[in-house]
């Protein structure tokens, strides 16, 4: 019998000739449709990945850094924060730490007021763990020895097109004076030194004063609510947590993922939507290939009959159509990747989508691209097989001389 190699050789030969010498317009159009199908599959998943990625980065860069060390369950403050900071800072891969004190407060400006969280920080440490110092839209960030000055997010300030304008202070500016009523009953006036915008609704509702200022409010020093730890990269935080524990840090150590609960819920919902869209996208791509191959088999019905008449096996004919379908899908994937990387990704980097969770760009993950490309090729194989298989089922006489 005809060997498998010979079969594949003839199938590939017929497929190649059909594509190379066939109608160029049809081939280009089919590849274009496949490219669009691939972009469709990639675009939504890349957008969802970008959205998730942006949200996670916001949590890390503007709220909790990579790791948060908190007091044990039964305690309100971290004991011996300096000792902990020493232990943590010697671990390779730790890029910075910042001890913070958090307190609820009421901030008042003229007739407007609201309840927000005030964080006290050492600005020199804070720049190592947070991106907020680089996100000032007015004024500047705190300096280590600042007293009587406050930095606030744009959702507190108002007047910058925030989502919570109605509960903001209505458009305060740098230099305005705010009255802050702390949880312990102390009331102080602060001059606004700067206003920041993180593009993240949650961190834009924070206010910052210096550690020294907070010590004077509380009347004591060394009060730490949490220590933020910045590490290299994202996603490998668990190994640092293990090392901190081994070094004798017995506080409650959490990674940013614990605080990104809402982001994770949203991500899971996106994953479900994405899966649904992908299935529909693959189905549409499969149907497209099916129609292209079906039309081809109908128009080449007689040729297929002749090939069978002269002794070419049906499996060779089917394989040649499957090869054509795979070729179209492969070219579509390549063209789609070119469109993604050369057009869409650069475009969204230049003009990101603005979400309450941050600026969103397209994030193309390698695994995503491979799985979607593979899905498209499998869909093309099935869509190439079915019409050609149906076509070779009719008798040779019907194929050559039928209606």
């Amino acid at each position: 019998m005809t060997s498998t190699t010979t079969q594949l050789k003839i199938s590939a030969f017929l497929a190649y000739k059909s594509i190379a010498k066939g109608n160029k317009g049809t081939s280009v159009l089919t590849i274009l449709i496949m490219a669009l199908a691939f972009v469709n599959l990639m675009f939504m998943s890349s957008l969802f990945t970008g959205l998730t990625d942006a949200s996670e980065n916001q949590v890390i860069e503007t709220l909790y850094s990579n790791i948060v060390i908190e007091p044990k369950d039964e305690e309100t403050y971290i004991k011996n924060p300096d000792s902990i900071l020493k232990k943590v800072n010697i671990v390779p891969g730790v890029l910075g730490t910042s001890a913070q004190y958090l307190t609820a407060s009421t901030i008042v400006h003229e007739e407007k007021s609201g309840a927000w969280t005030v964080r006290s920080v050492d600005p020199d440490d804070e720049v190592l763990v947070s991106a907020i110092p680089e996100m000032m839209i007015a004024g500047e960030y705190l300096s280590k020895y600042d007293r009587g000055e406050i930095v606030i997010g744009k959702e507190i300030a108002g007047g910058h097109g925030g989502s919570l304008e109605h509960i903001s202070l209505g458009g305060v500016v740098v230099g305005d004076t705010l009255e802050v009523a702390f949880k312990n009953g102390v009331r102080r006036e602060y001059r606004i030194k700067g206003i920041f915008d993180t593009n993240f609704i949650q961190s834009n509702q924070l206010a910052y004063i210096t550690e020294k200022e907070m010590e004077s409010v509380l009347g004591t020093s060394d009060m730490t609510s949490q220590i933020l730890v910045k590490t290299e990269g994202k996603g490998g935080e668990d190994k640092y947590v293990e090392q901190f524990t081994m070094l004798g840090v017995h506080e409650d150590i959490k990674t940013w993922e614990v605080y990104a609960g809402i982001v994770r819920t949203v991500s899971q919902s996106f994953a479900a939507i994405n899966a649904l869209i992908s299935v529909i996208g693959l189905f549409v791509a499969g149907i497209t290939i099916f129609i292209v191959i079906y039309v081809s088999t109908v128009s080449k019905r007689r040729q297929m009959g002749i090939l069978r008449a002269i002794g070419i096996k049906e499996s060779i004919i089917i394989q040649s159509y499957v090869f054509q379908a795979v070729f179209y899908a492969l070219c579509g994937c390549i063209a789609g990747l070119i469109v993604m990387f050369m057009v869409l990704v650069p475009y969204f980097i230049r003009y990101p989508l603005v979400f309450p969770t941050g600026d969103v760009t397209l994030v193309v993950e390698q695994n995503n691209a491979i799985s979607r490309g593979a899905g498209l090729i499998v869909a093309a194989m099935i869509a190439g097989f079915i019409p050609s298989w149906r076509a070779v089922r009719e008798t040779i006489l019907d194929a050559i001389w039928g209606d």
Partner: protein
Amino acid sequence: MRRSLMRSGVIKMTKMEQDTIITIRNLSRTYIMGTMQVPALNRVTLDIRRGEFATIMGKSGSGKSTLLHQLGLLDTPTEGEIVIDGVEISGLSESERTRFRLEKFGYVFQEYAILPELTALENVYLPVMALGMSQDECATKGMDALKKVGLDGRANHRPRELSGGEQQRVAIARAIINKPKILFADEPTANLDSVSSRQILKLFRALNRDIGQTILMVTHELEDEEFVDRVIWLTDGEVVEREG
């Protein structure tokens, strides 16, 4: 039984049997059209000898193409026996029939049944490619076959660049490339002008005379008779013979 013993060599074929390449016994083909049964062939019994150039003639609807299709394994008879080159055809599976067609038959159809995407040479060597020959062997054999039909100078031309007669000669080159036991031709000159038709028939005659090619041709042109050894005349699915 006798056939299989013959194939295994237990029983030797007679001289007559050795000379016969196709044996047809009581061959019938009835088509079902709705609730109607339409007999196309009616108990045809016939022998075709090796090296014979025979033509099947008859009026339209007489069953000549149907007979050729049964012998060429393009269709399955309703009943009867066909033995080709010592092999009883009814015992072959579909894949064996395909292989049989590839190895033992050559076909020339009424329409220029060649693939438009392939060059003349590629069209010609497709059958030997399917037999597993290398690219070089295919090209060499293809060129030899094209030379036999006088088209070696047009090897790299695609069908649309060839005249009708040239396309039919490409089909003939494809049909003879694997040195088939039998060449079947179904009204090969029906779409050609008289000059091209005579060229094709002369080519068949030359192949038959020079390499002893067995040819079974269907035609409705009475003047084609002058080129053949034997005319098998069909009337209403039954055979009436006369020598050419």
